[in-house]
């Protein structure tokens, strides 16, 4: 297993992509099944161009991917279980970093347990 790590830049892109309610909704929808750009535009009462822009941001963060079917462009969720696990492990890593910080503080106290 290749242990991939997200750079700060990638994390920024991910959080930026998820900072918008419409974009979050698009990710949620396409994880349950592919949607065409025109279907998405209809359900959000948005122009195709506006939806395209959101999809480009999500694509850049690695959350969705686009593919062509006939003349239609379709959007598919690209976060599989391994990606989800990867993000969650980052959360646990943070938990342990904070615990190690607290351990370090305790160890630097003059009397153990004091």
């Amino acid at each position: 297993m290749v242990v991939d790590q997200m750079s700060d830049h990638e994390v920024d892109r991910l959080f930026h992509a998820l900072a918008d309610a419409t974009r979050r909704d698009i990710v949620r929808r396409v994880m349950h099944g592919d949607c065409s750009i025109s279907e998405l535009a209809r359900s959000y009462a948005m122009s195709m161009t506006a939806v395209q822009k959101h999809v480009i941001v999500l694509e850049g963060a690695g959350l969705v991917a686009k593919y062509k079917q006939g003349r239609e462009q379709r959007v598919v969720g690209s976060l599989d279980a391994v990606h989800r696990a990867q993000h969650l492990l980052e959360g646990f890593e943070q938990v342990w970093r904070e615990r190690f910080d607290r351990m370090g503080e305790l160890l630097s106290e003059p009397t153990p347990g004091g």
Binding site: Q5, H87, F92, F100, R102
Partner: protein, 162 residues
């Protein structure tokens, strides 16, 4: 203290975090062996832990209580599987109910703690955690994270959990 290495293995839902301390192994072991010290680092300051029972022998239990900023209490426990003081501790971390009995059906985390003396002095600590599933990790993170991180991850969860 320095975190020297993080190995994430998402396909196996496991991770190893390694850190180094200047203190000797026996002193670092006390962070686990002394309940008063354990409760000072296990939970974040906003979610402090209280150790209710502490029996660090194979087959023994360590029971703790965590209190949220709103005063909500949640119980947890370790089922102690292996102990070789002062260098190895293997426990299963579980949720417990108000009577401090293990809650069946809630995710268990395997936690393997290894301490080793560094040749140049000080101690290397490695924590190997294994989670039962992606869903279990989502559930567990709710409990162990500080507010800022929880807010950030919550935003992600809103998308991923659905």
């Amino acid at each position: 203290m320095t975190v020297t290495n993080v190995l994430r293995d998402p396909s196996n839902c496991s991770m190893t975090v390694t850190a180094e301390f200047d203190a000797p192994v026996d002193r670092v072991w006390q962070l686990w062996a002394d309940p008063r010290q354990l409760e000072r680092w296990w939970g974040p300051p906003t979610y402090p832990a209280t150790c209710l029972e502490h029996n660090l022998t194979p087959g023994g239990m360590v029971k703790y209580l965590m209190t949220s900023p709103e005063g909500e209490k949640s119980h947890g426990l370790w089922r102690v599987l292996e102990v070789e003081a002062p260098r190895l501790l293997v426990v299963e971390d579980a949720f417990a109910d108000d009577t401090t009995e293990i809650m069946e059906g809630m995710p268990l985390t395997m936690m393997r703690v290894e301490l080793a003396a560094r040749p140049e002095g000080g101690t290397r600590v490695s924590i190997h955690s294994t989670f039962p599933s992606v869903e279990a990790m989502e559930q567990l993170l709710e409990m162990g994270m500080d507010d800022g991180m929880r807010a950030a991850m919550g935003q992600m969860d809103a998308v991923l959990l659905d």
